[in-house]
C-alpha cells in the first residue's frame, strides 16, 4: 500500500477539564472514503478542526502526504491540498453562489494579490468556478445570494468550493445534512464518484450514506477511536455496540 494521503498521530485537545479528542491516530489512503462516526459530543468536529488547522492541538502530529503540517495554519494546509467543507456553512452569505466558488478559484490559482484585474473578466477563473458549480448541480443558481439558498444547496456549494481547490484530499463535515432523501441520494452518488479524484475523510451522521460510501469506518467515542475497520468489522465490534447501544459486552 502506498503512503497514506493524510495521517494523524496521537492528536489530543482538551478544553479545561473536558478532553475533546484523546490520542487520535487515523489515516486516509488514496482512493478511499474513510468515515468517522460517533455519538454527539464525541469530538468529531474538534478532530476535523485539528486536522484542517483551525484548532491547535495539545499534542500529536498531522501529516499530509508524509509531510508534517502540525505547525501550519489553515490556509497553509489548504494550499498543501486539504479541501474542507463545513458542518455549519462558512460561506460568504451576502455574496452570490458564483462569487463563492470564484473565491475558491482565486485561492486555487492566482491568489488574491492582484489588485486591479477584474475577476469576472478572467476566463480562466470563471470557467474554473463554473465547472465546479456544474459538477454539484448548482450552475442554474449561480446568481442566487447564498443567504437565499436552502440548507441542502449550501451543502452543495460547500462541496463546490472545495472542488475548485482541486485538493489532494477532502475533509467533509456532514455533507448530506439537511439535503432530504432525494438530495442525499444525489450527494451520495456524487461523493461515490469523487473518491477516485481524491480520498475523502467523511464525518457523517446519516448511516445510510456512511454504509453506502465508506471503505473504512472509525468510531469516535468520548474523544477516543474505539474501532477502525471495514463496515463488517465495525458491525461485528462489541465495543462499538456497547458504546452505541449501551449493551453490555
Amino acid at each position: 500500500m502506498s503512503e497514506p494521503v493524510l495521517s494523524t498521530h496521537g492528536l489530543r485537545k482538551s478544553f479545561g477539564a473536558l478532553t475533546a479528542t484523546d490520542n487520535v491516530s487515523i489515516d486516509l489512503r488514496r482512493g478511499e472514503i474513510h468515515a468517522i462516526i460517533g455519538p454527539n459530543g464525541a469530538g468529531k468536529t474538534t478532530l476535523i478542526a485539528q486536522i484542517s488547522g483551525s484548532l491547535a492541538s495539545d499534542a500529536g502530529r498531522v501529516e499530509l502526504e508524509g509531510r508534517d503540517v502540525t505547525s501550519l495554519g489553515t490556509e497553509a494546509r489548504a494550499r498543501a491540498g486539504l479541501g474542507r467543507t463545513f458542518q455549519i456553512s462558512a460561506l460568504a452569505m451576502e455574496d452570490t453562489v458564483f462569487e463563492n466558488v470564484l473565491l475558491g478559484a482565486v485561492g486555487a490559482t492566482s491568489g488574491a494579490w492582484a489588485l486591479f484585474r477584474s475577476v469576472i473578466h478572467d476566463r480562466n477563473l470563471t470557467d474554473h468556478a463554473m465547472q465546479a458549480l456544474e459538477r454539484v448541480g448548482l450552475a442554474g443558481a449561480h446568481r442566487t445570494r447564498c443567504a437565499d439558498l436552502s440548507h441542502g444547496q449550501r451543502r452543495q456549494l460547500e462541496v463546490a468550493v472545495a472542488l475548485t481547490l482541486r485538493p489532494r484530499l477532502f475533509v467533509m463535515d456532514e455533507p448530506t445534512a439537511g439535503l432530504g432523501a432525494e438530495g442525499s441520494r444525489a450527494m451520495t452518488a456524487f461523493l461515490d464518484g469523487l473518491r477516485v479524484e481524491a480520498p475523502i475523510l467523511l464525518v457523517e451522521h446519516d448511516m445510510d450514506a456512511v454504509f453506502a460510501l465508506a471503505d473504512r469506518i472509525s468510531v469516535l467515542v468520548y474523544g477516543r477511536i474505539i474501532a477502525t475497520g471495514t463496515i463488517d468489522d465495525i458491525r461485528a465490534s462489541e465495543e462499538v455496540r456497547e458504546a452505541y447501544l449501551g449493551e453490555p459486552a
Binding site: E75, A92, G107, S110, A112, F116, L125, A162
Partner: protein, 327 residues
C-alpha cells in the same frame, strides 16, 4: 426603486454641478463647502475600504487624516520659513508643491497604517474598535504636546500650496483638484472591489474560515486593505489642511474618527458612493442645522439614531431598496 448606478451618476453630477452653479452665481462659499464635502468624502472612501469591504471598524482613522494634515503642515511650514527639515543625519528642504506633499502624506500614512494594522489585527471585534481608538488618542496627545509644530495651537500656512498650471487660491480650481482626487479614489475602490483581492477581502469580512479554507490569509488581506485605506485617508488629510490652510491636533481627535464612520453609515457603508452621499448630507446638516439652532447636535443625534435603527442601508439603501453589506 432606483438602480444604484443611476444614484451614483446623479451624485457625481450633482457634486460637480453645484460648485459650477455657485461659480456663476458668485456664491463662493458654496464652492468652499462643496470642496469640504469632497475632501471628507475622500477620507471616508478610504475608511469605507477598511470598514465596508474589509469589515474593520476602525475608530482611529483620524490618525491617518491627521498624519496627512501634518505632512502638509510640516513641509509647507519649512518652505514658508525657509528652514530645512532636520532629520539629524541629513536635512531636506520643505516644499509647497501639492504632488510632493500628497506623496509624502500617502507614504507616511500608509506606513502608520501598516504598523497600526499589524498590531491591531491581532485582535477582533470590540477589541479592534478600542485599540484603534487608543492609537488615535496616542497621536492626539502627542500632537498636542509637540511644541515644535505648534502643539495644540496647530500650524498656520499662509498661502495655499501650489499645483503646476493651476491657481489653487481660486476656490473652483482647488475644488477641481479635490474632485479629481476623489474620482481617482472612487475608481480605485471600484477596481479593487472587482479584483480577486476585493472578492477575497469581502469574503474575509463575512467568514474568516471560508477564506482560510481556500488557502488565503485573511489577516494579510485585511492588513493590505487597512494600508490602502489609511493612505487614501492620509491624502484627504493633506487636502483638508490645504483647504483650511491650517493643521491642528483636532484632526487626530476621536470625534473626527467618529464623524468619518458616521458619514459613511449615513450614505451607505460598503457602497461605492456611500461616503460621498454621506459627506454631502453631513455638511448640509452641519451648515443648515448649525445655522438654525445652537443646539443642532440634538438633531444630528436624532437623525443618526433614526438611521441606525430604521434605515440600516443608509441613504443608498433607501434609494435602491437594497440593503448593503453588514459590518
Amino acid at each position: 426603486m432606483i438602480g444604484e448606478r443611476y444614484v451614483n451618476g446623479a451624485v457625481l453630477i450633482g457634486l460637480i454641478a453645484l460648485p459650477l452653479w455657485a461659480l456663476s452665481a458668485d456664491e463662493v462659499f458654496t464652492i468652499t463647502l462643496t470642496t469640504r464635502a469632497a475632501i471628507l468624502a475622500l477620507a471616508a472612501v478610504g475608511l469605507n475600504i477598511a470598514l465596508g469591504i474589509g469589515g474593520m471598524v476602525s475608530f482611529g482613522h483620524a490618525v491617518f487624516f491627521g498624519l496627512g494634515g501634518y505632512a502638509m503642515g510640516i513641509l509647507a511650514f519649512h518652505a514658508q520659513t525657509f528652514s530645512p527639515l532636520d532629520f539629524g543625519l541629513f536635512a531636506l528642504p520643505g516644499t509647497k508643491s501639492m504632488p510632493v506633499i500628497w506623496l509624502v502624506a500617502t507614504v507616511v500614512s500608509a506606513f502608520a497604517a501598516w504598523i497600526i494594522g499589524l498590531l491591531s489585527l491581532r485582535t477582533a471585534g470590540v477589541y479592534f474598535i478600542m485599540i484603534t481608538l487608543a492609537f488615535g488618542q496616542m497621536f492626539f496627545y502627542f500632537a498636542i504636546s509637540w511644541g515644535a509644530y505648534g502643539g495644540e495651537d496647530g500650524l498656520s500656512i499662509y498661502v495655499r500650496n501650489s499645483f503646476v498650471g493651476l491657481d489653487t487660491l481660486m476656490p473652483i480650481q482647488f475644488f477641481g483638484l479635490c474632485f479629481a482626487l476623489l474620482c481617482l479614489a472612487l475608481l480605485l475602490q471600484w477596481r479593487l472591489r472587482r479584483s480577486p483581492f476585493g472578492l477575497a477581502l469581502n469574503a474575509a469580512r463575512q467568514s474568516t474560515e471560508r477564506v482560510q479554507s481556500v488557502g488565503l490569509n485573511p489577516r494579510q488581506l485585511k492588513l493590505l486593505a487597512f494600508v490602502i485605506s489609511g493612505a487614501i485617508t492620509g491624502v484627504a488629510g493633506a487636502l483638508f489642511a490645504d483647504l483650511n490652510r491650517f493643521v491642528s491636533p483636532t484632526m487626530f481627535s476621536w470625534q473626527l474618527s467618529g464623524e468619518l464612520i458616521i458619514l459613511t453609515i449615513i450614505g451607505g457603508v460598503g457602497r461605492l458612493m456611500g461616503p460621498v452621499i454621506g459627506a454631502a448630507i453631513f455638511i448640509t446638516l452641519e451648515h443648515w442645522l448649525g445655522g438654525l439652532t445652537d443646539f443642532w447636535h440634538v438633531w444630528l443625534g436624532t437623525i443618526l439614531l433614526a438611521i441606525v435603527l430604521f434605515w440600516r442601508g443608509g441613504v443608498i439603501g433607501l434609494l435602491t431598496g437594497k440593503e448593503g453589506p453588514h459590518v
